[in-house]
Point group: C2
Chain length 290, copies 2
Amino acid sequence: MSCRVGFVGLGVMGGPMAGHLLAKGFDLTVWNRTASKTRPLAEAGARVAESLEALGAACDAVVLCVNRTEDVRECLERLAPALARGSLAIDHSTISPVAAREFQARLRAEGIGFVDAPVTGGSMGAQKGQLTVFCGGEEDDVRRALPIVGAYARRAERVGGPGSGQMMKMANQIAVAGSLLGLCEALAFARKAGLDLGQTVELVGSGAAGSWAFQNYGPKILAEDWSPGFSIDNQLKDFAYCEEAAKAVGAAIPGTELVERLLADLRDQGLGGQTTAALYRRLLQLGSDS
Amino acid sequence: MSCRVGFVGLGVMGGPMAGHLLAKGFDLTVWNRTASKTRPLAEAGARVAESLEALGAACDAVVLCVNRTEDVRECLERLAPALARGSLAIDHSTISPVAAREFQARLRAEGIGFVDAPVTGGSMGAQKGQLTVFCGGEEDDVRRALPIVGAYARRAERVGGPGSGQMMKMANQIAVAGSLLGLCEALAFARKAGLDLGQTVELVGSGAAGSWAFQNYGPKILAEDWSPGFSIDNQLKDFAYCEEAAKAVGAAIPGTELVERLLADLRDQGLGGQTTAALYRRLLQLGSDS
């Protein structure tokens, strides 16, 4: 098919991703809840749809990059009647794996393909077109999605059937939780023990305790820079889906639950907009004066 | 001084470390509780002391590489009367930071220097002479220790006053705990979710959840190879010192405590000799059938 692509959700992630599609020559139509965000793309040559329904009617494939499960549900309910049989929906939002399976089944019943395709790599990865994309879905649907996703991915691959992309993203967030906990707990301990924090990040981070978190969040903590990056609010959103998924598959995730509680404490202190590395601050609070 | 070095504790770590001293031309005397372990070093040219006391009397610097705090205490009690004023003791064992400070103060009162110098890098690092050594002690004592330690270290540096080397090692073990938890929890979740474990290790480990643990323990878990590496028993030994140190400085280490509980469960199942990566198995056990 001559692929007319629609892109819904032009935020910090979606904006640059849509830009890469345009730059790669895709026939692009965009829509965003806050209409002003469509302007840079319109100026660069994208069509702007007047409504979600209009976008659905004008495209062979629709890419979503919104926020929560409920946002995806609402978009798909409005898009589905407008989308032609044989069209495809690709969802880059991180949402509940259980809901992703449900969405796939519903759309499939109407002859519409669905790929759950959450990403990692952050806003920097989106800007550089260097995201990693975990694709879950029917083989044929994923095969059709990959040329589109490839416009902004360093790496994109099928990880299993419907919902598997979200499951892989949950595994990723669970691993991130442990890694972040190790970094923040070690640095809070080092601070209390009177060690030099810079030396701790450097020495500990270069050996068997080393991690992406050490390399990237270590310097942020040293600089007491609590700006996101990835915010506590967003991490807590993902952790809620982790919990739901873990319950659905019968997995125990006590480390993730611990990090979730500690970050929720920070959110309750009004710090939900800070970087997840502020977990360090919560651990300092929990220590006693010595 | 013409440095006559004594080495006590010729185990998996100490044996190769003493071998590097010999290869670098140090005048080496060794002693080991199990005398047969001195044989390879004697054949390579080391003197073998008849007793700890005889070793102390014959050396300007004594290096310890034993196991627990109590082992170090006993060695130092026997060595101290034999060591000359102005001599130096270097302890590579991972022990309680609180006890390390006490040992330094006692020896200092007798004119003997003491450097707490726990290592990271494992048996492979010891064999290759590529260990990282965290040195705590008076500046002058550490300055005298570095040429000796340099025989088997890729990196050795002073991290602060007496006990600081052990404190840095505790920070390292705390960070390792989180990193290990992230890996094992993510893989146990992935297994329950029906994801391909090899693909999970590869995809998740190459992004923001990446870590030394992912690179090194991920493949071990895939292969269901539970041989140590670093055993659960040894990790639990270190965690007990982490707890003591955290209490002493007023630090909260809930993640480390969680990993400690889970590994203790495995030890209670008779699996204390397995690799710490067997934490994955405990998390699978804690999951439910779904």
